[in-house]
Symmetry: C2
């Protein structure tokens, strides 16, 4: 037992991991194996240990409950409404990430009965205030693609402009004008045109591009201004 | 005494309140009256109470230590490195705000010996990791003016374009090209030209403008794209 002079709220982290597949944006959920909300789907997460940084806690809980590791998590927001957890006052620091779904097959463990990717269009009802957290993450992700280049870790090394456009369309959940998109994305100066074209396609093979890593990283730091 | 099965980090909030005066950006600091860092300057803040939301804690601590109230605080980031507080593992949720300095005279109380505005160019050394938190807030503020209109609560009801430009120059800490600024800010469509001009000025009196509240609020929600 640990004793403190004043009462303390409990502290957790929760992770919103978005997964991109060919034509859909999904989110990684776990099915809770403990009370409260036993059997309900929720964001992966859990309690912070004393001496552990918040970032480390988020990574540890994500790996323990879903098997996913080596994922770049960004802090999203902290939630602390006193009634958000029926047990007691629990404050959670939420994180989010965007990964290539194909490379990350979840595997449930510890307090999770199941772990699975869910399409954002077809979500189960979520435990706690996790629906709110998920919505905030979705908005943040949409905002982010406006001021940072996206795609480096989500697309194959060489890709077509159509693949890149599709990526933006999925994240932004809207159709994008092809001509306008190409003009703007080329103007960013992060694409290198290769000598190669697509293989094994029925239609006319499109040119393959790759990212210019140095310039991409520079713009990641410096920020872009990408209105679509 | 309060008992818990597992050890818990302590939880605080800290506030970075930026204050604008005629030609400078300042930050509100308190001089600590208790250990650790007794006598050192720090961001106002303190411990979260069980049953209190994080936002409420930030507001309460700011008012208790500095007298400032009715300020729109936005959550900035949460910091939880285990060694950031010499006492024990303390996680803090940081907030930030931008106010008109003239309207907010600080008054020290509770754990603060003093409370005062400091120019960002002339800061004392700060307690804990508050220098890092302040730097993050400064960057966030600079980023914010690119995607949200700014000035509504900082300028008098009627103002000149030079005053508005000055505001941006102070926040961005850089000189702005006058012609380019006027073109872009007028294009936003949030300014209403009044029939009035400046009074009691030695130079040629400049036109006074005011904000269009409805359009301003709409752009606050929707976001702008303001590259200077």
């Amino acid at each position: 037992m640990y004793q403190y002079k004043y009462a303390r709220p409990a502290l957790t982290t929760d992770c919103v991991v978005f997964g991109l597949d060919q034509d859909d944006l999904k989110v990684l959920l776990i099915q809770r194996d403990i009370q409260p909300f036993e059997g309900k789907w929720a964001l992966p997460g859990g309690f912070i240990q004393v001496g552990e940084s918040i970032d480390d806690c988020a990574r540890r809980e994500l790996e323990e409950e879903t098997g996913l590791h080596d994922i770049f998590l960004e802090q999203l927001y902290s939630y602390g409404q006193p009634d958000r957890d029926p047990r007691e006052h629990v404050i959670t620091v939420a994180y989010y990430a965007l990964v290539n779904l194909i490379e990350h097959a979840p595997k449930a463990a510890t307090d999770a009965r199941n772990a699975a990717w869910f399409s954002l269009d077809d979500l189960p009802s979520l435990a706690f205030d996790h629906q709110t957290i998920l919505e905030t993450a979705r908005q943040r992700l949409r905002g982010k693609v406006r001021y940072q280049p996206v795609g480096f870790e989500l697309l194959p090394e060489k890709f077509t402009l159509t693949q890149l456009q599709k990526l933006y369309e999925i994240i932004l959940e809207q159709k994008i004008d092809k001509r306008n998109f190409r003009k703007k994305v080329i103007k960013l100066g992060i694409l290198i045109e290769t000598d190669e074209v697509e293989q094994d396609v029925a239609h006319r093979a499109a040119r393959l591009y790759q990212f210019d890593p140095a310039h991409y990283q520079q713009l990641e730091k410096q920020g872009i201004n990408f209105e679509l």
